[in-house]
């Protein structure tokens, strides 16, 4: 039982269930659930927290009154988009680019499987229907700003054609005549010179005021001032379509929490792995928050365990998501794909493949075995409610999943149905024995997972030895054995593997990222004077960005004394089109020496990833974007530490069960994960059961629980 001091409340509102996680200052966790109330999520919020409080014998008011933070994440933004319930949008774009909302960049294949992509007939643009936008609500505005070009013919951001204000005014009237509720503005190169966008936004507000209309104006240079207009447009559309709706929704949750005694502001989760006040002015940055919790959790656990380089793998029912933490920072991508759209958005760099424990298994007419991308989700497989045979059926056939004790006994699996499905739909078409076939399916799955893990590591210029593997997610412990022969520095999983993402949300730091597109060209033959001039220019840009960052954090209740800033830049060799994000070890660029060091750090990282031969300093360098990450104060739960003991508790061993491994049936000892103590070791063959997951330990391996009860996977001597 907890005293509920400094409790952190984390809520994940899914389409079906709302999960509430309470973590007290000692790291004790309680999990509650409620059916999501789609009409009013504040009701399911209350019910889920109530449910979690019951396990601590506390009432919701006690928990709320003493709570340090309350973080709410859900699918409101996604649902608003998918259900076509967002604002009616109008757009102002640079004249001559009006169809960008439809044509995107030709990305009509995003989100399709590789087979579908190869089959061109399946390609289709989705944005016009998702944003309910058509050409009649897109107005082209005469204006042009230049890049300056790689050949440095003029200053970046030079105005080539002035903003036609009369035309802008007329365009806004046209949009308002069509009853738009929000206006997005996206002009070419506005990240280098935002004057035109700013003025257009002023005009939009002026016209709306004159008419007495209420319109929400979003400009891309304020929202995501980075290169590539189509991605900027998509981010602008999401913000314009949904953010005021989502903010109202989050403030409603905050009001509910406050009625229950909560005394602080409500938080929500960003796509880049932090929590922010729900008053955050760029709420589109929270559009993809679901998968970030795991990586945040991995970073926090890494900090406790003193591990800086982590490859974090989440095995769920549908997919296998892999991300990395390098030097204690979560790796990000800046052009993620979301619901078949490509955005300008820093997001945790999760590389996913559509193979998980619930993946359907299909043997095609060519005897090729396909896994996924369709999945049973919560229906598990033929052994429960799903009409198609899945990987889970194979796990059941092999004895890894306990038919009578699945999800702590809440669900009974039908082993006969699983066996029949594996035999008839997999084994017989391949001419294999049923158990061979089931084990073979796992072999294929594990091969894919391993390739995915090694690709992720190698594509970043590392070897597995540079990383510790964290495996979590509901099916993580179940499939850990299948990837354990990769030579990672260490392999770990956790008793709370199934709730790892929620733990991450609760443990997350309060931080924000600020990115600003630039166009600083550093020629190969630059001299001292040129270096000084470039450094001065970049330094000014950093100062402006840092000032913006501090102001914003302070406006949300953070004290500037408690803030820490991390600086970096997206750099390229001049001419290369892909940037490399470099987080500087020395702070920000203020003078020529800093510039030199920044170039050095960029080159080292570049050569690490692409090889020494890929270096090309003779072409010069290009700073495309600078960024600042500002980290504020937020309490995080302590992870409890215990006195290690090798002695097993009386209830640790539940018995024995036969399971099939490497071509034969063997006796596996069944352990109760909740009864394992810090310092305990588990010898193989063993299956460690938890109400929410199952950890399989085949012959040749052993487990060891450290003082935090983190589980280390070792080869037996």
């Amino acid at each position: 039982m907890s005293k509920a001091n400094n409790t952190q409340i984390a809520i994940d509102a899914g389409g079906t269930m709302t999960d509430a996680f309470l973590v007290d200052e000692h790291g004790n966790v309680s999990v509650g659930k409620a059916l999501t109330n789609k009409e009013d999520e504040s009701i399911s919020y209350e019910e889920a927290v109530d449910d979690a409080c019951k396990y601590w014998d506390l009432d919701s008011r006690e928990v709320h009154e003493s709570a340090a933070t309350d973080t709410y994440t859900g699918t409101k933004m996604l649902n608003t988009l998918l259900e076509r319930k967002g604002n009616r949008i109008g757009l102002l774009v640079t004249k001559g680019h009006e169809s960008m909302y439809y044509r995107e960049r030709g990305h009509s294949w995003l989100g399709l499987t590789w087979e579908q992509i190869l089959h061109h007939k399946t390609h289709k643009h989705v944005a016009p229907s998702m944003f309910e936008l058509d050409a009649e609500r897109v107005e082209g505005i005469t204006e042009r700003v230049s890049s300056g070009s790689y050949f440095m013919i003029e200053e970046p951001g030079t105005e080539k054609v002035g903003l036609n204000e009369d035309e802008t005014r007329e365009a806004v009237h046209k949009l308002l005549d069509k009853d738009v509720e929000s206006i997005g503005i996206n002009f070419l190169f506005s990240y280098l010179n935002s004057d035109h966008e700013k003025r257009a936004a002023e005009i939009a507000r002026e016209v709306a005021d004159e008419r007495g209309d209420d319109v929400y104006v979003v400009r891309s240079s304020n929202l995501c001032p980075v290169m590539k207009e189509a991605q900027r447009l998509k981010s602008t559309l999401i913000e314009a379509r949904t953010s005021d709706i989502v903010r109202d929704h989050l403030l409603n949750i905050e009001e509910t929490a406050k009625k229950l005694g909560y005394q602080h502001d409500e938080y929500t989760v960003t796509s880049y792995g932090s929590v922010v006040n729900v008053r955050h002015p760029r709420l589109y940055e929270t559009v993809i928050s679901g998968p970030t919790g795991g990586l945040i959790g991995a970073r926090e656990v890494g900090e406790i365990a003193g591990i800086e380089n982590i490859i974090a793998a989440d095995i769920g029912g549908t997919s296998f998501d892999v991300g990395t933490i390098e030097g204690g920072r979560i790796s990000l991508t800046k052009e993620p794909n979301f619901a078949r759209n490509r955005l300008a958005l820093p997001m945790v760099d999760l590389d996913s493949i559509g193979s998980g424990a619930g993946s359907e298994v299909n043997v095609d007419e060519f005897s090729h075995i396909e896994l996924g991308p369709e999945s049973a989700g919560s229906d598990v497989g033929k052994c429960l409610n799903h009409p198609e045979v899945t990987v889970s059926d194979c796990n059941a056939v092999l004895g890894y999943l306990p038919p009578g004790n699945f999800l702590g006994g809440k669900v009974e699996l039908d082993l006969d149905a699983a066996e029949q499905a594996v035999r008839e739909e997999i084994a017989e078409p391949l001419g294999l024995d049923m158990y061979e076939a089931a084990e073979g399916v796992l072999d294929i799955l594990h091969t894919r997972l391993k390739r995915h893990l090694t690709s992720t590591v190698e594509s970043k210029g590392y070897t597995p030895q540079d990383f510790t593997l964290f495996i979590y997610g509901g099916a993580g412990p179940l499939h850990l054995h299948g990837v354990s022969d990769i030579d990672f520095n260490d392999i770990m999983t956790f008793p709370f593997a199934a709730a790892f993402s929620a733990y991450g949300v609760a443990a997350s730091e309060h931080s924000k990222r600020f990115h600003q597109g630039t166009s600083s060209i550093i020629p190969p033959d630059y001299d001292e004077a040129a270096a000084d001039a470039i450094a001065d220019e970049v330094s000014e840009e950093y100062q402006a960005l840092e000032e913006q960052a501090y102001n914003e954090m302070e406006s949300e209740g953070q004290s500037s004394e408690d803030l820490q800033a991390v600086f970096g830049a997206s750099m390229r060799y001049l001419g290369v089109l892909e940037d490399l994000d470099v987080t500087f070890t020395f702070g920000r660029i203020d003078d020529a020496a800093d510039l030199e060091q920044a170039i050095g750090e960029f080159e080292t990282k570049y050569a690490d990833i692409y090889g020494e031969g890929a270096r090309f300093p003779e072409s010069g360098f290009f700073v495309k974007e600078i960024f600042v990450e500002v980290i504020g104060e937020k309490p995080t739960p302590e992870q409890p530490s215990y006195e290690p003991t090798s002695e097993l508790s009386e209830d640790a061993i539940k018995g024995k069960r036969e399971a099939y491994y490497d071509g034969e049936w063997r006796d596996f000892t069944i352990f109760d994960m909740e009864e394992l103590r810090a310092g305990n070791a588990v010898e193989s063959p063993a299956i460690v059961e938890h109400p929410m997951t199952t950890l399989v330990v085949p012959p040749g391996n052993e487990l060891e629980l450290d003082e935090n009860r983190f589980i280390h996977w070792n080869e037996e001597d």
């Binding site: 044509r103 030709g106 890049s147 290169m227």
Partner: protein
């Protein structure tokens, strides 16, 4: 476990004792001959009548394929980040592959997948010419190749790099990379030079050549790029990208061999290829209807007056792009007869075998390759006769291959149209589409004020074309690239970085610009630049598959109208810079026309080019405006449904005037919504149908009139037929028979 046929068993001597790079005691030359013999004798790749590994342990086999495929896939994902040219990075115009020792592709990454069809040509050339001994093949050696006759690269812009994968003294395969580079150094700045009378004006060409060792390029090669091309920085960085990816493949394949064992690897790579060939056979049997089909495409090329020093090349052409598809659903094979293809001549639109292999593979993938693992096995069920002396099989290797994709894409559209037609006939109604895919390229060089020059290829309209219509839906604008399934036009903000002095004033969907039908093809795109006084001048050209005087596809399987042509408009010495100073900018062609009609936009001269253009020199104040990439329609435009028309109006894909003209639908606007005037529409459609009846003539009357016209054909058309009849007996016979040229009266056309 069943035994392989005796012939297919592999010699397994201990490597160290032989001193050859081939397997066992074989040389690579031996392996090449052995592959050909076994494949021919047994009608299976390397004589593999049984897929022993796949049958014996399908799980292990699948794991092996996954691992090999992943080697190519992940190399591309990582290495493309090194690329410089927008084509590689922005558009993903690159490919990595894992090849057998003989050069056959086992697995490929995403990207420019057609090139896997051409990879074997370079490898074969090296083996047949003794490269095994001199310079030899060692781990870390880098061979780059971009000379079409010897390397398979369709043109010099498609550059290949190969690295041998050596394991315990044996060459177990190749890592292969391809990407389309920025500029290749021909007589006029380009990556697809449309003007090049012979191979000597094609630019920097390189037969398969060792350009580095120990995974590092030699400096001379970079120096050659600097000296012989106009975009050396981009080209050098692209080379680094190819090497970087090949190194990743090499390392990964070595790991795979250590995991699965050398003998397993040697066998499985061959089984994977034959497995795909078998699957292709099944697809042909299951999806197509047997028989013969003839579709034809045409393309014009104007060169007269552009090559006075090359008297033999100083003329114009119309290319007759006519494959004949023979589909055999019993054997699961397709045979293509190119006997009526235009003869080779002294222009840039021809090519060599690699271009055919590459293009064929692309079409096969989408038409009958559904669900298959892409590799060399695809092409094994499809063969072709390509007469010596035809435009893709010239009599010698002095012919240019500067720009083969321009006529090649229409040629293979015609091939694909036959296959799509057969799928439709088989009952796969939703699977068949019109196969009228286009591309347009824009290239040239910018001359800065100091006189220095920089070449470029701009691939906006190469990155994504529209999709053709099918019987149940319209084509989509900017939605496919035949040569790169992950279509991507790139970003205007990236392109302008490499086009100094040129500024987009338009880059958008063009209304009414498609082949009409009940379902229309995807709209094309309009792109316009104004040229500023930031530079001295720009030398710009336009190429592409739809750049012609007339629609390239003569007819379509779905019966709608083919795609209109890609067109270039040049307005010289305009007042655009003054208009821009006054904050006025045209947004597209319709507005340009209005401004011209109103004399708001003034100019000294205008030029309109439907054909490909080698170069026009533009000065500050000029406008360069091009359109392209629309697709053909399906069915009768008068049967178009209102909901489709309403969709078009909302997205401004069509104007109200065109709706009436094309579809006979009268529209009006009420409360901001488009409405159909049903009564006026019925009247209009009735009137149009009646007009059709009035305009229609009996076939025999048309035939007789046309036969008379044969005596008075435009000179270029006459020359085209003369060329063809001289080159192709088959064409001559068919032409003469069709027009009854050997009878005095010619009959009455009833036959």
């Amino acid at each position: 476990m069943s035994k392989p046929t005796e012939e297919a068993q592999e010699p397994t001597q201990v490597k160290a004792s032989t001193g050859t790079l081939g397997w066992g005691d074989q040389t690579l030359q031996d392996m090449l001959q052995r592959r050909d013999k076994l494949t021919e004798d047994h009608e299976h790749y390397y004589g593999l009548e049984e897929l022993q590994l796949a049958n014996e342990d399908p799980i292990q086999y699948d794991r092996a394929y996954t691992a090999i495929h992943d080697a190519a896939r992940s190399a591309r994902q990582t290495a493309r980040n090194v690329a410089a040219s927008p084509g590689a990075r922005e558009l993903g115009e690159l490919l990595f592959g894992v090849l057998t020792p003989e050069g056959d592709t086992v697995a490929v990454s995403r990207g420019l997948i057609g090139h896997q069809g051409a990879f074997p040509i370079s490898i074969q050339h090296m083996i047949e010419n003794g490269y095994e001994d001199n310079p030899g093949f060692e781990e870390g050696d880098i061979f780059t190749a971009f000379d079409p006759p010897t390397t398979g690269t369709p043109h010099a812009g498609d550059t290949y790099t190969f690295c041998p994968i050596i394991y315990e003294g044996e060459l177990v395969g190749w890592a292969a990379a391809c990407n389309h580079i920025m500029e290749t150094g021909p007589a006029v700045a380009a990556a697809w030079p449309p003007w090049s009378p012979n191979t000597y004006t094609d630019g920097f060409l390189l037969p398969p050549t060792q350009v580095g060792e120990d995974w590092e390029d030699w400096e001379w090669f970079y120096e050659a790029y600097r000296r012989r091309t106009r975009a050396p920085v981009f080209n050098i960085l692209d080379q680094k990208m190819r090497v970087s990816g090949n190194k990743m493949i090499n390392d990964r394949i070595i790991d795979i061999i250590e995991e699965f064992g050398l003998e397993y690897y040697k066998r499985v790579i061959r089984e994977i290829i034959d497995d795909s060939a078998r699957a292709m056979k099944r697809n042909i049997q299951d999806y197509t209807f047997p028989g013969k089909s003839n579709y034809v495409a045409f393309q014009s090329l104007y060169q007269e007056g552009l090559a006075p020093l090359f008297e033999y090349a100083d003329r114009d052409w119309i290319f007759h792009l006519a494959p004949e598809d023979h589909i055999d659903t019993v054997e699961g094979e397709i045979h293509i007869d190119f006997k009526e293809l235009s003869p080779a001549d002294w222009h840039a639109s021809g090519g060599y075998e690699g271009h055919v292999e590459c293009n064929l593979w692309l079409n096969v993938m989408d038409t009958v390759g559904m669900g298959l693992r892409p590799n060399r096995g695809f092409n094994m069920q499809i063969d072709y006769d390509l007469p010596k002396g035809s435009m893709y099989n010239p009599k010698n290797d002095e012919y240019s291959a500067g720009n083969p994709w321009a006529a090649g894409v229409p040629l293979f559209n015609a091939f694909g149209a036959g296959v799509e037609h057969s799928k439709f006939a088989r009952g796969y109604l939703e699977e068949a589409w019109n196969e009228d895919v286009g591309w347009t390229g824009f290239q040239g060089e910018i001359v800065r004020k100091d006189g220095s020059r920089e070449g470029f290829s701009e691939m906006d309209l190469l990155g994504a074309s529209s999709t053709p219509a099918s019987n149940h839906r319209d084509g989509e604008p900017v939605s496919t690239a035949w040569w790169n399934p992950e279509s991507d036009t790139g970003s205007a903000e990236e392109w302008e970085y490499v086009l100094p002095g040129l500024y987009y004033f338009s880059r958008t969907v063009m209304p009414n610009y498609f082949g009409p039908g009940k379902h229309h093809g995807g709209n094309g795109i309009q792109i316009g630049y104004f040229i500023t006084d930031d530079i001295k001048e720009a030398v710009l050209g336009k190429v592409g598959g739809q750049s012609s005087e007339f629609t390239t596809m003569a007819s379509l399987p779905g019966g709608g109208y083919p795609a209109p042509t890609a067109t270039l408009f040049v307005f010289r010495d305009t007042n655009i810079l003054e208009l821009l100073d006054d904050e006025q900018m045209p947004g597209g062609l319709d507005e340009l026309k209005e401004w011209i009609d109103d004399e708001k936009l003034t100019f000294e001269s205008e030029e309109i080019y439907k054909e490909q253009v080698a170069a026009v020199t533009l000065k500050p104040g000029d406008l360069y405006f091009w359109t392209g990439n629309c697709s053909g329609g399906w069915g009768d435009p008068l049967e178009r449904e209102w909901e489709d028309i309403e969709h078009d109006l909302r997205h401004e894909f069509v104007t109200p005037e065109a709706v009436q003209r094309l579809h006979g639908v009268v529209v009006e606007r009420e409360d901001g919504e488009w409405q159909m005037d049903e009564e006026a529409t019925e009247e209009k459609r009735t009137e149009m149908l009646e007009q059709r009846s009035e305009d229609a003539i009996e076939f025999k009357d048309w035939w007789q009139d046309s036969r008379e016209d044969l005596d008075d054909l435009p000179p270029l058309v006459e020359q085209t037929y003369d060329d063809l009849r001289e080159f192709s007996e088959d064409f001559d016979e068919r032409f003469s028979a069709y027009w009854a040229l050997n009878t005095e009266t010619g009959g009455d056309g009833d036959e």
